[in-house]
């Protein structure tokens, strides 16, 4: 399966990546190669093989429902570019 320019642009947009116009063909080729590899794997007969959700043959350990974290807001907000009234400030996200 070959990806075209618009596929690459929409993938980049979904990942919020800014890519140079000149680099698009190279990305298209690289990504297409990955899909070709996936297609190759898809051609293997996997009937009778259980889908793998995780490479480890283990199950999730569960935590007891206990509050173990204290308020560390001042510490955690030290590196935030902008805070006000305890809120993180980000560029406006609605019109």
């Amino acid at each position: 399966m070959a990806l075209d320019k618009s596929d690459v642009e929409s993938i980049a947009h979904l990942a919020r990546l800014a890519i140079g116009e000149a680099d698009v063909p190279a990305y298209a080729e690289n990504l297409s190669n990955i899909l070709t590899l996936v297609e190759q794997m898809s051609s293997v007969d996997t009937r009778g093989v259980a889908p793998m959700a995780h490479p480890f043959e283990m199950v999730q350990r569960l935590r007891e429902d206990v509050v173990s974290e204290e308020n560390q807001r001042e510490h955690l907000q030290q590196h935030a570019p902008a805070v006000q009234d305890g809120l993180f400030l980000v560029p406006k996200v609605i019109e």
Binding site: H13, A53, Q60, L62, D65, V67, Q84, G86, L87
Partner: protein, 484 residues
């Protein structure tokens, strides 16, 4: 053309755990911004999620309550999208293997009929934070206290065919999750939110039409109204030859309309994949059976018991069992008063509910406890109080003036049941209203029945509402008829 609406709901219920689904931060509502958001909730590098056992237990409990298949092996997946209140850039959710599979429940409709609605699935996921768009000098404020709060998203089959059915379904889920104690059900605080998918098709057609999704409805009434508005909107588009656009819309209760949300050109391209940070979750049969043993009596069973054992009407039984707290109050009242179930039901659904509504109180916060109300009902049962006086005493109890007996004593509200005393009042009324008495005597016999109401009113007034109305009626009639 005759149109049929097809409705499916996705309900997000916040699970009532103490800590978050993947971290040990608290989930309590209303804390100062970002004081309950730890490194895991903030999505800082190097952190790992650890699943809360209680969230799993609650999800299984819901599954058992709706006869669902429990996913013995469920898998968490990443749902990828960018929004500032989702710090990791993905929401941990479940996709292919949810913890709760196909189930069902019954909803009750106005006409007293019931309908089975399928539950497609219910899955565990984390809530996002909150964005505050008010005045921050052109910036948006982010509070991540809610980020990581456990949610159970309950997805219905597209089985509903009217706004009333959608609203009845939402009420039923609300009733079940609050009975189970897995969600506080607080609609105002956002603990219980409903997204509704609505599409129209010509009646008789199998195939579904294009749907619109109305997001974040937090009231039963809004669900019904949003569906009705949306039906009209879509029918108008279809009948004028247009096409309904698949999109997300918001309901504006002030204008009673739905509006398109900002268009997401990458709509629904969430690129789900299994979250490598979490291993598959396995619930054992022992775990499931242990949860089953904790299931309380559910609303349907309770309703049937009230109808069967207590001989209550369908309407009373449905009203009393809709919320667990109401049923608890009713049962406490029944035990405390020793009165008939019907009398208890009338007071809970009537006077008490009206007073709670008026003062905006939940039944748990009622100023008149079940035991205190029981004391009042006993005075009705033993004829100390008429229904009207009882309401007066109730109002005084509501204002904190004391027990029923104390108020009756203090206000001298004992009902007059002594025939001699009532007859004396009747004589006074007859003597003082000669014109009406003459009118009564002159009237056609079939009209007298209505006219007697005037005299009853006068006697009740003269007795300050204390005369037993049944006796007044009876004594008046024989006294007046003797004058004919």
């Amino acid at each position: 053309m005759e149109w049929e609406v097809v409705i499916g709901c996705e309900i997000h219920t916040q699970l009532a755990t103490k800590s978050k689904i993947f971290s040990g931060a608290a989930t309590a509502y209303g804390a100062a911004p970002n004081t309950q958001a730890c490194a895991v909730d903030l999505g800082l590098p190097g952190v790992l999620p650890v699943l809360n056992k209680e969230a799993v237990r609650m999800a299984v409990k819901f599954g058992l309550a709706v006869d669902a298949e429990i996913g013995k092996r469920s898998v968490f997946a990443r749902k990828n999208y960018f929004y500032p209140d989702l710090p990791k850039g993905y929401q941990i959710s479940q996709f292919e293997l949810p913890i709760v599979g196909q189930g069902k429940l019954a909803i009750e409709l106005e006409e007293g009929s019931s309908k089975t609605i399928g539950i497609t699935r219910a899955h565990l996921e984390e809530d996002a934070g909150k964005s505050l768009h008010e005045d921050f000098h052109g910036m948006t404020g982010i509070d991540l206290n809610r980020a990581g709060t456990p949610l159970l998203e309950i997805v219905s089959d597209p089985d509903m065919r009217s706004g009333a059915e959608a609203s009845a379904y939402m009420r039923k889920i609300h009733s079940i999750v609050t009975y189970l104690g897995i969600c506080d059900g607080n609609l105002q605080e956002g603990s219980f939110r409903c997204d509704v998918n609505i599409s129209m098709r010509p009646k008789g057609q199998e195939e579904f039409g294009t749907r619109a999704e109305i997001k974040n409805l937090n009231s039963f009434r809004f669900v019904e109204r949003a569906v009705e508005y949306e039906m009209e909107r879509q029918i108008a588009i279809l009948e004028s030859g247009g096409k309904v656009v698949q999109e997300t819309r918001l309901y504006d209760p002030d204008r009673d309309e739905t509006r398109s949300m900002r268009s997401k050109e990458e709509a629904n391209d969430y690129r789900y994949f299994p979250d490598p940070d979490l291993l598959p979750v396995v619930v054992t049969d022992e775990f499931i059976e242990a949860v089953r043993a904790t299931l309380p009596e559910l609303p349907d069973a309770k309703r049937q018991r009230y109808i069967g054992e207590l001989a209550l009407s369908e309407k009373d039984a449905a009203g009393l069992t809709a919320a667990n707290a109401t049923a608890d109050y009713f049962e406490a009242l029944l035990a405390a008063s020793g009165c008939e179930a019907k009398l208890c039901a009338n007071w809970v659904m009537g006077e008490l509910s009206a007073a709670l509504n008026r003062d905006g109180l939940a039944i748990e916060a009622s100023p008149v406890s079940a035991a205190q109300l029981g004391g009042l009902l006993q005075r009705i049962a033993d004829n100390t109080l008429s229904g009207k006086l009882a309401k007066e005493v109730f109002e005084a109890m509501w204002q904190g003036e004391g027990s029923a007996d104390a108020i009756i004593e203090q206000k001298g509200l004992k009902q007059i049941t002594d025939s001699g005393a009532i007859e004396a009042i009747i004589d006074e009324v007859i003597a003082g209203n000669a014109a009406q008495v003459a009118g009564y005597r002159a009237a056609e016999p079939e009209k007298r029945g209505k006219m007697i109401g005037f005299f009853v009113g006068q006697v009740m007034k003269a007795s300050q509402g204390k005369a037993n109305p049944g006796q007044v009626n009876q004594l008046l009639k024989s006294r007046l008829d003797a004058l004919l």
